[in-house]
Amino acid sequence: MTIPKRRCSHSRTARRWAGYRKPAAPTMVICPNCQELMLAHRICPACGFYRAREVVKAEEE
């Protein structure tokens, strides 16, 4: 059997795992209409408003 010649250093292990970190939570904004947290540039899932005035639809989702 093949066997690793060297012990893997902590930093090397850490570097290998560097890309596997948990992704950061998306930045949320407060809906100007209903004050719920929502993603920017999208219809507010809570109230269905977008750009304050446009009622895109009533609460469906």
Binding site: L39, H41, R42, I43, P45, Y50, E54, V56, E61
Partner: protein, 193 residues
């Protein structure tokens, strides 16, 4: 090579893609608003707007008794009909939509993002035809007014660097006039120095 071809293929053969665009265009015209993925919505615009443009050309020709005009209008109608799948959609294009968008120089659709879809997490959006009552926003003058200001703020650090030799005492004196309209000449002088 597909260099510089900005459209994506959606994992479809060209026939499949064309069929998809025709279906979606027809649906959008008939229903005014459809829900689809962001990417499809973005590319659907060009197909829908082409159809509306055909209808607008027909409208611009007028409604005279002239046979040559009628023939041109018929041709435009058939061109639209060869893409759009439903007769009712063609009718709507050449009557209602041509009228509605007569004054609007392109940009007949709006895309509003919804969020991601359960299942594959695709970003979804609504694409809709603008409503008749929506007036043209006079954005252009506002943008023009804004642009010079934005440029000035960006330019200032550069011109300051170029005029490094200038003593620091001059800078505060030069800045207040830069915020006012006659700034371009001010900036020019600084770069010369």
């Amino acid at each position: 090579m597909r260099h510089l071809k900005s459209t994506s293929k959606f994992s479809r053969t060209s026939a499949h893609r064309l069929a998809m665009w025709r279906n979606m265009t027809t649906s959008l015209i008939v229903h005014e608003r459809i829900r689809t993925t962001d990417e499809k919505a973005k590319q659907l615009r060009r197909h829908v707007e082409k159809m509306i443009t055909l209808a607008k050309h027909a409208r611009a020709l007028g409604s005279g008794e002239d046979k040559s005009i009628a023939a041109k209008q018929l041709h435009l109608r058939r061109q639209a009909g060869s893409f759009v799948r439903a007769d009712e959609a063609v009718k709507k294009l050449f009557s209602e939509l041509a009228e509605r968008f007569a004054e609007r120089p392109g940009g007949y659709t709006r895309i509003i993002k919804i969020g991601s879809r359960a299942g594959d997490c695709a970003n979804m959006s609504y694409i809709e035809l603008l409503a008749a009552e929506e007036k043209l926003e006079e954005k252009k003058p506002a943008k023009k007014a804004k642009k010079p200001a934005a440029k000035r703020t960006r330019r200032e650090p550069k011109s300051a660097k170029k005029a490094e030799a200038a003593p620091t005492a001059e800078e505060p004196a030069a800045e207040p006039p830069a915020a006012e309209p006659p700034a371009p000449t001010e900036g020019g002088e600084e770069t010369k120095e």
